[in-house]
C-alpha cells in the first residue's frame, strides 16, 4: 500500500490550491493578549483605541509663570504690568496649569521684583505655551487598525494612550520533523553513511525571521507508523507541520502515504528546481509541508511555499527580497519543465551591475550561504543569453553589493585570510570569491565580469608564470598584476606515505589519484609535469576524478577515498597528511584597470601587504612572500 505519485504542478497553482483548501477548512491565525512594552514586531489582532489622553492634563510647555491672560492685557515695554504673588504661579515644563490660569509666560520674559511680585512687558495671549490635553493622543482615538506591526514608536503611542496590553496575533508554532534512517544528530561523530541533521536549524531560523516559533522533533526513522505518530502529535500541538525528507517517491519515502492517512494531500510534486519533490497538504486546518532533504531544496521550498502560509498565520507583511536589474555573466540554460532558482554572485563591475551564476547543486548549503543574489527563471523561460539584462533578487542591500569586491579565479587560502583582515577595518566591504581556476579568472577579468582574479599559470615554453598569459590575452586592455606568493605544489599522500610515493611516475602504477578540474592552475601544472616526464595521463587511475579546491583533494586522501592528489602544502598540513614537494609556483593577483583605484581593492592590497597576513601565511606553511603586494611591470 505505497502511495506513489509525483505531479509537476506549477508553483502559483500549487500554492493557490493549498490556500483554497485551508481557507475552506477554517484555517485562521490565533490571538493572545500581550504586554505592550514587550511587543516589538507583534501584530495587532484588532483595532486598538486609546484608553486615556496624552497628555491627560493641561501642562506648561515652558519654564515660566502661569497667569490669567486678561490680567496682562495692556502690558508693553513702556507700560509693564505688575502681578502680585497670588496672580501667578511658577511652573516648569510639564507642570500642571492651575485652574485659575490660562497662559504661561516664559521665565526669560519675567522680571522678578524684591517684594515677590513680577513685572511683565508684553501681554500674554490666552492659552499660549500651554500643552493641551490630548495633544498627542485623545481617549477613543484609533491608535492602530487591525494587523499593524508594532514599531518602537507605536509601542510608545500605545502606552501614551494607556494601552498597556492588547490582543495580538499569536506567534504560530511550527513542528519540524526530520526523518530518515541515515539521519544522525549533528553533535555525534559521523560514520560513513551518516547524514548529520541540520536542516531543522536552518528552517527554524527562517521561521524565526518570519515571526514564528518551532518545535523540533527527534529524527523519525523511515517507518510509516512512527512517522504517523509524530505527524499526528505535531498536528495537535502546532499550527503548521513540516516533515523533512521522504517527500519524493522512492523506496523509503513515506511522507505522502502518511499524509494521505492522517489528513489530505493537496499536491505532490511541483514544477520547481530545486524543490520538485515537495508535498503540500493539510491535517484538518493545520497546513502540512513535506520538504526535500537537500538543504538548498528545503530552503527554496520554505521561501516559496511555507513563507506565504506563515504570513497568513502571523498577519505580517513578509516582504520579498528587493529586485534589481543586472547583466548576466555567461549563458544560462533552464528547462521549460520547471521554475528554477539560481544562486548568483552580484557586484558592480565598472558601470555595470553584474550577476554571475554559481555552480548549482541542491546539496551545497555553503554555496547558497555565499550567494549574494537569486535569479528566478520562470517555467516558460528557456534561459538567457550571455550579457542578457535580467532581474535578480538581492540578498544584501544594494549599496553593499555596489561596494563589494568580486574575485574570480584560482583559489588560495590567502584570499580568505586577506578577507578576514579586511573585515577588521572600519570601512570594510563584502568580498565574493568564485573558484573557477586561473584561466577562468583571466577570462572574467578580461570580460569585465570580475574585479580581480588569483592566477598561477605556468608557460610551458619559457617556464615563466602568469606574464606570458597576460601578454597573450591583454593585447590592448590594461590590467594590473600584483605579486602574490610563491607556494609549494606537490603530491599529497596519506600520513607515513604507506604507498611509498616519491615521484610522479608512480601515479601510473595502480595508485588511486584525485585530480583538479580543467582550467585550474594545478591541473595545468600536472599536465606540464606529466608531459615533461613523458607520462601518459590515461594510465593514471582517477585522472578524470575532479575536485575544485586544494582542501577537497586533501580531504579525499585523508578519508582513504584516494591515495594521492596534487595540491599545495598548506592543504596537506591542515589534514595532517604527508607532502612530496614538486614545484614552486607563483600565485599572483590580476586586477582590472577600472577596479584598481576603488576602495575595495585598496583595502585588499593593504591587507595583502600587512604583517598580520605574513604571520598567517607562515602559520599555514609552504609560502614565500618576497615582494608580496608589489605591482609587477609585465607589459615591457
Amino acid at each position: 500500500m505505497k502511495y506513489e505519485y509525483l505531479t509537476n504542478t506549477p508553483v502559483a497553482q500549487a500554492i493557490g490550491m493549498l490556500k483554497e483548501q485551508l481557507t475552506a477548512n477554517g484555517f485562521c491565525y490565533k490571538t493572545e493578549t500581550v504586554k505592550t512594552a514587550d511587543s516589538l514586531h507583534r501584530v495587532t489582532a484588532t483595532a486598538v483605541y486609546a484608553k486615556r489622553s496624552s497628555p491627560h492634563y493641561c501642562s506648561s510647555a515652558m519654564d515660566g509663570i502661569a497667569v490669567l491672560a486678561e490680567n496682562t492685557f495692556g502690558a508693553s515695554e513702556a507700560n509693564p504690568v505688575t502681578l502680585n504673588s497670588d496672580q501667578f504661579v511658577r511652573v516648569d515644563t510639564g507642570d500642571v496649569i492651575p485652574s485659575n490660569a490660562d497662559s504661561v509666560i516664559m521665565i526669560e520674559n519675567v522680571i522678578e521684583n524684591k517684594d515677590g511680585s513680577v513685572s511683565i512687558y508684553a501681554a500674554a495671549v490666552p492659552w499660549q505655551h500651554i500643552r493641551q490635553i490630548g495633544e498627542d493622543v485623545s481617549m477613543g482615538d484609533m491608535l492602530a487598525p487591525s494587523f499593524t506591526e508594532l514599531t518602537p514608536s507605536l509601542i510608545g503611542a500605545f502606552m501614551a494612550g494607556g494601552v498597556l496590553s492588547f490582543e495580538a496575533v499569536r506567534r504560530p508554532v511550527c513542528a519540524i520533523i526530520p526523518t530518515g534512517d541515515e539521519i544522525v544528530s549533528a553533535e555525534t561523530t559521523l560514520e560513513d553513511g551518516d547524514i548529520p541533521e541540520y536542516n531543522s536549524a536552518i528552517f527554524s531560523a527562517m521561521l524565526k525571521q518570519w515571526g514564528a516559533d518551532s518545535i523540533i522533533y527527534e529524527t523519525v526513522p523511515d517507518h510509516i507508523e512512527l512517522l504517523k505518530k509524530a505527524v499526528t502529535d505535531a498536528a495537535e500541538k502546532a499550527d503548521c507541520v513540516l516533515v523533512i525528507a521522504g517527500s519524493s517517491a522512492g523506496r523509503d519515502d513515506y511522507t505522502a502515504t502518511v499524509l494521505n492517512e492522517c489528513g489530505s494531500l493537496v499536491c505532490h510534486g511541483v514544477a520547481m528546481k530545486p524543490g520538485k519533490p515537495t508535498i503540500l497538504g493539510r491535517i484538518g486546518n493545520v497546513p502540512f509541508f513535506g520538504l526535500p532533504g537537500y538543504p538548498v531544496s528545503g530552503i527554496t521550498v520554505m521561501n516559496t511555499f511555507v513563507k506565504p502560509i506563515i504570513a497568513l498565520l502571523t498577519k505580517r507583511i513578509l516582504t520579498e527580497l528587493p529586485t534589481e536589474s543586472a547583466i548576466l555573466s555567461g549563458k544560462l540554460i533552464s528547462s521549460l519543465k520547471y521554475e528554477e532558482s539560481v544562486r548568483c554572485r552580484a557586484a558592480k563591475i565598472g558601470d555595470d551591475f553584474i550577476a554571475v551564476p554559481m555552480r548549482t547543486s541542491a546539496g551545497l548549503v555553503s554555496g547558497y550561504s555565499k550567494s549574494s543574489a537569486l535569479l528566478n527563471v520562470a517555467q516558460n523561460c528557456e534561459g538567457y543569453e550571455n550579457e542578457s539584462e535580467i532581474q535578480i533578487a538581492l540578498r544584501y542591500p544594494k549599496w553593499q553589493l555596489d561596494t563589494a569586491l568580486m574575485i574570480v579565479g584560482s583559489h588560495d587560502p590567502l584570499l580568505d585570510e586577506v578577507y578576514d583582515l579586511m573585515r577588521k577595518q572600519e570601512n570594510s566591504c563584502l568580498v565574493m570569491s568564485s573558484h573557477v581556476g586561473s584561466m577562468g579568472g583571466i577570462m572574467a577579468v578580461k570580460r569585465n565580469q570580475a574585479h580581480m582574479g588569483g592566477i598561477h599559470l605556468l608557460d610551458e615554453e619559457s617556464g615563466i608564470y602568469n606574464i606570458p598569459y597576460l601578454k597573450k590575452m591583454f593585447l590592448t586592455q590594461k590590467v594590473y598584476l600584483i605579486r602574490g606568493v610563491g607556494r609549494l605544489q606537490g603530491l599529497i599522500v596519506k600520513k607515513g606515505n604507506p604507498k611509498n610515493v616519491t615521484c610522479l611516475e608512480q601515479l601510473s602504477g595502480g595508485i588511486s589519484y584525485v585530480n583538479r578540474q580543467k582550467g585550474s592552475g594545478t591541473r595545468i601544472l600536472l599536465d606540464y609535469l606529466l608531459n615533461r616526464n613523458h607520462i601518459d595521463s590515461s594510465t593514471i587511475y582517477g585522472y578524470e576524478r575532479e575536485e575544485y579546491t586544494h582542501t577537497a583533494v586533501a580531504a579525499m586522501v585523508a578519508s582513504d577515498s584516494a591515495d594521492v592528489g596534487m595540491g599545495i602544502y598548506s592543504a596537506a598540513k591542515i589534514y595532517d597528511l604527508d607532502f612530496i614537494p614538486l614545484w614552486n609556483e607563483h600565485y599572483d593577483l590580476l586586477v582590472s584597470e577600472n577596479a584598481f583605484d576603488q576602495p575595495y581593492v585598496k583595502l585588499f592590497l593593504d591587507a595583502l601587504r600587512s604583517h598580520e597576513l605574513k604571520d598567517r601565511l607562515t602559520q599555514l606553511g609552504g609560502y614565500t612572500v618576497d615582494g608580496i603586494g608589489e605591482i609587477i611591470n609585465w607589459s615591457e
Copy 2:
C-alpha cells in the same frame, strides 16, 4: 555646585568626539561562545573554519547500482554487459560507495535478470553520479570571516562543516535609567502632573532591533546622589548607559553634573532638532548618553547617536533607512542653527512621489508612529520651497508607499473604521490620514497632494454642503464627490450639564469654551451659527483655544479644562458626556480623478459601502448613512 553648559556642537563632530574618546580608552565589543543552531543574526567574532568535510564520505548521487567502471567498458545497446551479484551493489541516494566501486549507474538504466545478475547497455564513466567528499565544504575551508552576521543558510553551512558552536560578538547590554520626580509607572492611575514612563519601552525596543539587550532601572527621582548611585551601578553592569531626561540645563537637570563626577562628559548640547539637550560621555570605557525626555527627541537621539555606538558593540551593519527622491508638499523653513528631522507622510500621488511634512512637536509620539518618512534638513540649510525635490528616508518599503492611500482633510472616526475594515482584506494597503480640516483637504486634492479628503463645508448662502465649494474650487479639474454620512454636530458639555447649557447664546456668558482650529468644518459651522444668531465671537472665553480633533475637544470638557466645546455626537459618547444637538451636517469624501480607479480607493469604497461599517457607525452613534458610498453628481 551645579553644572550648566549647553553647546551647539554639530552632529557629526559630536559623534566623532565620542568615538575618539571611547576608542582611546579601550572601548571594544565583547565575545562569547554560542550554539550555531541558535545563532540567527549573531555575528562571528573570528574567522570560522570547517572542522569536517561535507559530505564526509563519497556517496551515491542517485538511486542505482555502484560498480567498478572498468567492468562496464565496451557495453552498448548491441553488446550489453552482464554483472553478477558480487560485481555491483544496490545503492540509494546518499548511500556509501563501496570501496571496490568507482561509479553509479542509475536504476532506470539497469535491467535486472532472474539469476540475480544485471545487464547494462552503456559503459559507466568512472566517478559518474558520485557525490565526492567535500563537495559542499572541506575541512579547513573558511566558512565565514570575522564579523559576519549569521543567516539561516550560513547556520546550515557552519553545521555542515561541523561547527556546532563558535565565538560570537556578545549582545551588548544597555542600562536604561528613567529619571524625574514627576515620572510614574505607566501602569498606575495618573493624577494631574504625573508623567507616565514609557520611553524605556520605546528605547529598549529600538535596542532590540539593533541586537542589544536592556536592563530597565526603576525611575530615579531628581536627586544627585540617587542618580549617581544608579549610574555607577549601571556602568558596572552594562556595556552602555542611557539616562532619560534631566539632560537639559534647568533647575532639576542633574545628568551632566553626575556624569562629570562619575566619568567624563564629551559633549553637552548638539545642533539637532529635536534632541538639542543631549549629553554624550563615557564612564571608563562605557559609553554614556543623556537623552531628552520628550519621546520624539529621545527617538531621534537614539537613531543619531546611540545606534552608531551599538553598531560598534554588536559589529552588525545597522543599515540606515533607504532614501528616495520626493516632491515636498508645502514650504518648509528650518534654522541654520541645527540639523532638523521632520516627520512626513509620503505616497505616490499621480506620477509623483509626494512628501507632506507633519505637525511637529517633540511630544507627539503617536504622530511619529504614523509618519511614513523622515526628512533630514542639514544644519546649513534654511529649508525648502514648496514642490522642491528632496531626499527622504522611508520608514516603509517603497512599494508599500507607492500603493498607499493618502487622505488629507477633515477627520471623522469613520475614516479609521474604514481603514480597519480595509486591513481585513487580503490585498490591503497602508492608509495615511492627515487632519487639517475641510479646506485643507480641498486644497490638498486640488494641488495633487492627496488622493482623498474628508469635507463638511456649509455654504452659508445656500445652506448646501460641499457642492458649492467644489463648484468654486474645481472649475476645470475633474474630482469625484462620494457621499459619506450625515452626522450630528452639537455642544459637548459635562455629564448632567451642570452649567445648564441649552443654546449657543450662553457661550458668551462666562462659560469656558474650547474651539477647533481655523479651516476645520466645525469651526466654519460655529462661525456660521454665531453669525446667524448675532453672537460676537470675541465675547466667548476660549474662542482662541484650538484643538485639532473632536475627541480632543471632548477630552478637554471631560477633564474640566473647559465647560463646553463643539463637536460630533460620537466624541461626546466616547467620553460619556452630554450633548446638545445643533446641526445635521454632510461629511463627504472628495477623491481626485487620477486616484479614483486605483486599487486603494476601490478598497476604501468597498469598506465604506459595507454592512460592517454601517454596524460600526450605529455603535458610534450620531450618524445617518443614507446613500453612503454613492457618487454625487455635483457638477451639473
